[in-house]
């Protein structure tokens, strides 16, 4: 133990550690215990105890190990109450006591747990929120806002799915080779969603959400090292690095978003762009097509502008066409129309836009913003029912980080 520190230090330390280590500690406990909800409850108790004790007794030398030990004790007590003391899960926790040793590095079970969350027995629509909450500690309320459902409904669905994980006996070991591509895609989607959420905080300043970008980049790197033969893992990491490289160029002096093709390329991070291009080249060598690689290739095409001063819109439109032919999303459809319009193929652009489901586009801000910016002249002769350009930067950036 260090010398007792003043109360705010203890509280600050607990909060800081909670922010940085929560996901890792919960994932490790959940993976050992095979019960996500119980692991979260136990870690919650451990954090409460830390807030009680650290301000008066000082912050332990190995605060994460301290939290893990307290959380494990909570789990064991709960298990004793439920008379499960002979179960292998409880035994595993007894066996894991070496975590109390100083400097022990807690293995990162986050990706393993994400693969469990991507299990086919879990409803596809709840997989990403489940991963984001369990592994990155994002609250149900915030997930609900992003997924356009009520916070209550989101919280209920998360509770229900955690009960299913506990009670239905989902396999926690590595998925079978047959299952891997589908599950990997869900994991990659969640990592990219976390990265997008991280952008939401750019002008808001919630530190824990800003950390998400770093977490997502780290998880992307981990995926690449664990699955060196996965082209899509490399594609996702390249995509995030392309977006990350433009961080300093995305906002003007008045904090308005600057579209990708108008950004000052001198502000782009050349080292990151080179890394991203190299990763994408490695991915292509593996000859496995996939949406993240195409998205990254589109980014790479945009970034050619730093050398040629031209955006290769024709090539970008073709890449979006390829993406939409196999993995259509409303974002990519709008972006394809924009690319077509930018290479003067207005007829094709208009056809694409006309084919989009108006209901799906109604609340999709990037659609309206792009429509507004790109087609202002073209639309001048048409009376728009609702000229809309009130999108707030934060949610725009989240919904379409690749466009800014």
């Amino acid at each position: 133990m260090t010398q007792p520190s003043s109360p705010p230090d203890g509280i600050d330390a607990a909060q800081r550690i909670a922010r940085h280590a929560y996901g890792r500690l919960v994932a490790w406990l959940a993976y050992q215990w095979r019960d996500v909800a119980a692991a979260e409850d136990a870690m919650g108790e451990a954090l409460v105890k830390a807030l009680e004790r650290w301000p008066t007794q000082g912050v332990p030398d190995a605060p994460e190990a301290w939290l893990l030990t307290v959380a494990k004790r909570e789990l064991l007590q709960t298990a004793r109450r439920q008379r499960l003391h002979d179960s292998p899960e409880v035994q595993a926790l007894y066996d894991g006591d070496e975590t109390e040793a100083l400097g022990f590095e807690i293995p990162d079970a986050r990706l393993k747990l994400m693969f469990v969350c991507a299990h086919p027995a879990i409803d596809a629509s709840i997989r990403t929120p489940l991963m984001l909450q369990t592994v990155l500690g994002i609250e149900a309320k915030q997930l609900a806002t992003c997924m356009l459902v009520s916070p209550k409904a989101m919280a209920q669905r998360l509770v229900r799915v955690k009960l299913k994980i506990r009670d239905a006996g989902l396999r926690f070991e590595e998925p079978e080779a047959d299952d891997l591509p589908e599950r990997l895609h869900a994991v990659l989607e969640a990592v990219y969603a976390a990265y997008g959420l991280g952008w939401e905080a750019v002008d808001g300043g919630q530190a824990e959400i800003q950390d998400l970008r770093g977490e997502a980049l780290f998880l992307g790197e981990l995926l690449c090292s664990l699955l060196p033969h996965s082209a899509e893992a490399k594609g996702l990491r390249a995509l995030m690095l392309f977006c990350q490289a433009r961080e300093r160029a995305r906002f003007d002096a008045s904090d308005s978003l600057i579209p990708l093709q108008l950004q000052n390329t001198a502000l782009w991070d050349q080292t990151l762009l080179d890394q991203a291009d190299a990763l994408l080249a490695q991915a292509f060598q593996l000859s496995q097509s996939g949406p993240f690689q195409i998205e990254a290739a589109i980014q790479s095409a945009h970034c050619q502008r730093r050398h040629t001063s031209q955006v290769p819109w024709r090539g970008i439109a073709m890449l979006y066409g390829h993406l939409n032919s196999q993995w259509p999303t409303r974002g990519a459809q709008v972006a394809q129309a924009v690319a077509l319009a930018n290479c003067q193929d207005l007829e094709a652009a208009a056809q694409m836009l006309a084919a989009l489901d108006p209901e799906a586009m109604r609340n999709y801000q990037p659609y309206w913003v792009w429509l507004w910016r790109t087609f202002t002249n073209w639309l001048a002769s048409i009376r728009m029912r609702k000229p809309i350009c009130s999108a707030d930067s934060a949610s725009l950036a989240r919904q379409a980080p690749r466009l800014f």
Binding site: H119, P120, A121, D167, A168, G169, L170, R171, F172, E176
Partner: protein, 121 residues
């Protein structure tokens, strides 16, 4: 863990098949499945069920016993049989469910059995 596999089929899908050759092939698939799952040693118990027209449903309402002709839920899909199997995890139970002939046109519901209550000490 123990799981119940509940085999559902829709008679409108021609299950069991009317045509004799097809029906024999269908029985053959079930025989092969029953042999495979039996020899694997995972089966706790299992049976095919008589068709729903043989079912009777009972309810107690107050002290009144209500007996009704027919199955509890009147659905197009009928419960044709079940296995209770003891396997390490859901994934293995799902693998057995997927191999069954019921999975081809109907569907198999897989549910974990509840743990036995603790022995009183």
């Amino acid at each position: 863990m123990k799981y119940m596999l509940m085999f559902y089929d829709n008679p409108a899908n021609n299950i069991p098949p009317q045509d004799e050759t097809e029906r024999n092939a269908w029985f053959g698939r079930w025989m092969a499945y029953n042999t495979a799952i039996g020899e694997s040693g995972v089966v706790v118990i299992g049976h095919a069920l008589q068709p729903p027209h043989t079912a009777t449903t009972v309810r107690m309402r107050g002290d009144q016993r209500q007996v009704q002709d027919g199955p509890f839920a009147d659905t197009k899909e009928m419960l044709g049989g079940f296995y209770v199997i003891d396997v390490p995890d859901l994934d293995e139970a799902l693998a057995w469910a997927a191999r069954s002939p019921a999975a081809l046109k109907g569907g198999v519901e897989v549910r974990p059995l509840m743990d036995s209550p603790p022995e009183p000490s």
